[in-house]
């Protein structure tokens, strides 16, 4: 191994994944909240929706900025990767953006618009639908990158040997990316259910979200193993890495976190559940990193090949450190003010 095997490009790539991880744990859960708004049922559905709105309200915009940070860091540090992904993933990314726009706007339209039932319901439906569709598209995008289909499409385009469908549609409209879309949706819903159970003041409401958390945990299980089975057939590189010896320890830790999260939800240890659920979801995300390292866009563009010049990377790292020194205290302040009361 070279002495500089972990250099600036790797550090910045790690920072991007950390920012994405933060987005998943915070912004992802906000989308998950919207999913439970969509699925609000039973005598307490009004209370469920109120709890969701009150939990998302003060923080969703700050949580959303993580995604913007991921995008700007990616195009600053690895511009050719951003360019390639922008081209071949144009359609799913555009659809995801529409979801992001509709989710955010409908949420404030509902919060600040007329209080009559018809208006509330109209924006509530848009908010809930957009909350459910956006994570699926995010998962599809990640799945397309991880499986190597995005990189292959970029190659076909460069070789001028491509139909529209083979570059812009087929890569993401296939089983593995769709399975990853389902997995992202299940993970976000699971996080949200656990956070909401912790935040609920009312015992019955807490039980509502406990049942939902258990359901979402089952959905994660199905989507993850379904995805692995699909990968075995359609994306052998992904399943090869994930079932290989190198990943064994990693998979074992993920399994422990998953079982721990399930146990904590089952036994109503909510604070433990929150930590274990966040850990489980984070490990699944880092599993993706493990699958495609050292590629940004497998199987063609590696970190080193597409990294911006050293000057840019150095300045960017400096900006990240400086920014983090301001950002983290500010975020801690925000979450301390609006944290659910500890029981």
């Amino acid at each position: 191994m070279r002495a500089d095997a972990f250099g600036l490009p790797e550090i910045l790539a790690a920072a991007i994944v950390l920012a994405l991880n933060a987005y998943v744990l915070t912004g992802g859960a906000d989308f998950g909240g919207g999913v439970w708004d969509l699925l609000a049922r039973g005598p307490r559905r009004g209370a469920q929706r109120e709890l969701i709105a009150s939990q998302i309200g003060p923080i969703w915009e700050a949580n959303h900025v993580w995604l913007i940070l991921v995008v700007v860091l990616l195009f600053t540090a690895f511009p050719p990767a951003f360019a390639t992904l922008g081209i071949v993933l144009h359609i799913p990314l555009s659809l995801m953006l529409i979801g992001i726009v509709l989710r955010g706007s409908s949420f404030v339209f509902r919060s600040y618009g007329p209080r009559d039932d018809a208006t509330q319901q109209r924006w509530g439906v848009v908010f809930a639908m957009a909350s459910a569709i956006t994570p699926i598209l995010l998962g599809i995008v990640v799945g397309t990158i991880a499986s190597g289909a995005a990189g292959d499409a970029g190659e076909r385009l460069a070789a001028r040997d491509a139909t529209f469908a083979s570059v812009y549609l087929a890569p993401w409209l296939s089983l593995f990316p769709l399975a990853m879309g389902a997995l992202a949706l299940a993970m976000f819903a699971f996080l949200a259910a656990v956070y909401l159970a912790l935040a609920a003041d009312d015992a019955a409401l807490r039980e509502d979200f406990r049942r939902r958390a258990l359901g979402a945990a089952a959905a994660i299980f199905i989507a993850a193993f379904g995805g692995l089975a699909v990968a075995h057939v359609t994306a052998p590189r992904v399943s090869g890495v994930l079932t290989g010896s190198r990943a064994f320890a990693f998979q074992a830790v993920t399994a422990v976190a998953a079982i721990g999260a399930l146990w904590a939800v089952w036994t109503r240890r909510w604070r433990t559940a929150r930590i274990a659920a966040a850990l489980q979801v984070s490990l699944i995300l880092w599993g993706w990193v493990l699958v495609q390292y050292p590629f940004v866009v497998p199987p063609t563009l590696t970190l080193r090949e597409v990294a911006a010049p050293r000057t840019t990377l150095e300045l960017l790292l400096g900006a990240l450190i400086g920014g983090a020194l301001i950002l983290f205290p500010a975020l801690a302040y925000l979450f301390r003010i609006f944290a659910p009361k500890v029981r």
Partner: protein
């Protein structure tokens, strides 16, 4: 419609939509903080109501600004991958800094909007100040990128067309940086302040509560009027940088075809690209030479100095420039008038002629902003990076771009209509306010 035109249209609509919310996000927090500060100082209930209501408006408009800004950051890659591939390492720096500024803005807006009963009065006011300051900082960083596209520095071009020897810090200090940032910040305060003043002037004309709307009008004018008066001077600074660094853009916005000394300033007129002349304009002798170079005999380069394929669409740019200057001047005059009335210690809220004028110029700031972006963006065509990269080389190879363009256009027009209706209902609610 060609794919290039569709991509440019989508970017124009996305930016044209976002910029309105971005401006409001910069200026509105300052106004709500000012109102809250007046309330805490004077204890007058009207200021408290005002801060709460302006905050409500800010919440809606900021959210739409945040999501439409996200769209733009993705569109850089979705529409202009060629640009990002080469320029990313140079302009990523201000975008990253903008990311952090936006973070602070979003965090403290959350604290401000939802923290009235949860944090101390001092902390609440401070949160509002952080929102206002980081909103302005975001604008500074984003405009630095645009200034670089107009006056690119901090790299050399190798034989293969790659940007090498890059220096992102120099790129942030491009020749147009200061003037463009100043112009955009003033535009934000002028457009938002004067628009809000227009809304409250309208309510006053309709006989709504004077204690509430009169105070609102005065505070809005405190932000909007000075900026509106300063803006023509900032525009003069900008025009002189354009004259030096982007002569073709200057020629397009003035409709100047021929290279000449003693160039006249044209008011109105229609630039005819086929005849290569601007017709029906009122010409003020030596005016352009004087304004652009502060010398009535200075030579101004005309459009004919460059081949037609290097010229922007002149009519659009000229018309947009005339609109910006004309409406901007009207705003400045009304702002001065308001200042004069206030200075004479006359009650603004009873001055019906002034109120009517304020209502009329209310939307001018946003129209000027749109026109100004058309001037700077269309005026730079056919370049995305002035003199170094053509827009046609930056666009995505994906065909059928008219489809996403149409989709986002419909989406934004729909959202725009909802926002207007919602803000109108928030304003109508205030007609019942009694202090």
């Amino acid at each position: 419609m060609t794919d290039l035109l569709a991509a440019r249209s989508q970017m124009a609509i996305s930016l044209g939509f976002h910029i309105v919310f971005a401006e409001i996000g910069i200026a509105m927090p300052l106004m709500m903080v000012l109102a809250e500060w007046r309330w805490r100082r004077t204890g007058e209930r009207a200021y408290y109501d005002l801060a709460r209501r302006w905050a409500k408006g800010t919440a809606v408009l900021f959210a739409v600004g945040a999501v439409s800004g996200t769209v733009l950051s993705f569109e850089l890659g979705l529409l202009w991958p060629g640009f990002m591939r080469h320029a990313g390492p140079l302009i990523g720096m201000p975008f990253s800094l903008e990311g952090f500024a936006f973070f602070l803005e979003a965090i403290f807006l959350g604290v401000y909007l939802y923290g009235w009963e949860r944090v101390s009065p001092r902390a609440h006011l401070a949160a509002g100040i952080v929102v206002a300051a980081s909103g302005a900082a975001s604008a500074v960083f984003v405009v630095l990128v645009n200034a670089w596209m107009n006056t690119p520095v901090g790299f050399t071009l190798d034989a293969a067309g790659n940007f090498v020897n890059i220096d992102p810090v120099t790129a942030m200090r491009s020749p147009a940086a200061f003037q463009q940032v100043l112009h955009m910040l003033l535009a934000s305060y002028a457009a938002t302040g004067m628009a809000v003043a227009g809304v409250h002037a309208w309510m006053l004309l309709r006989g709504a509560d004077r204690a509430f709307h009169g105070r609102a009008l005065l505070l809005a004018l405190c932000i909007g009027a000075p900026a509106a008066v300063a803006q023509p001077f900032s525009g003069d600074l900008s025009a002189r940088v354009v004259a030096e660094t982007q002569p073709v853009k200057l020629a397009a916005l003035e409709g100047q075809w021929q290279t000449m000394r003693d160039a006249p300033l044209r008011i109105g007129g229609w630039p005819d690209a086929s005849r290569e002349e601007t017709r029906y304009a009122i010409e003020i002798p030596d005016g352009l030479s004087l304004l652009a170079f502060h010398d009535p005999h200075a030579e101004v380069r005309g459009l004919r100095a460059v081949p037609p394929e290097d010229r922007p669409p002149v009519a659009v740019v000229h018309l947009a420039f005339q609109t910006m200057v004309g409406l901007g001047s009207a705003m400045a005059i009304v702002a001065l008038w308001a200042a004069l009335v206030a200075w004479r210690r006359r009650d603004l809220s009873g001055h019906r002629e002034l109120l009517r004028a304020l209502v009329i110029v209310g939307p001018f700031g946003f129209i000027c902003t749109e026109a100004g972006w058309i001037v700077t963006e269309v005026g730079r065509q056919p370049w995305v990076v002035q003199g170094f990269m053509r827009t046609a080389h930056a666009v995505t190879p994906m065909p059928g771009l008219v489809a996403p363009m149409t989709t986002f256009t419909v989406l934004y027009f729909g959202l725009g209509a909802v926002v207007v209706a919602l803000v109108a209902s928030l304003v109508r609610e205030t007609s019942g306010v009694r202090s």
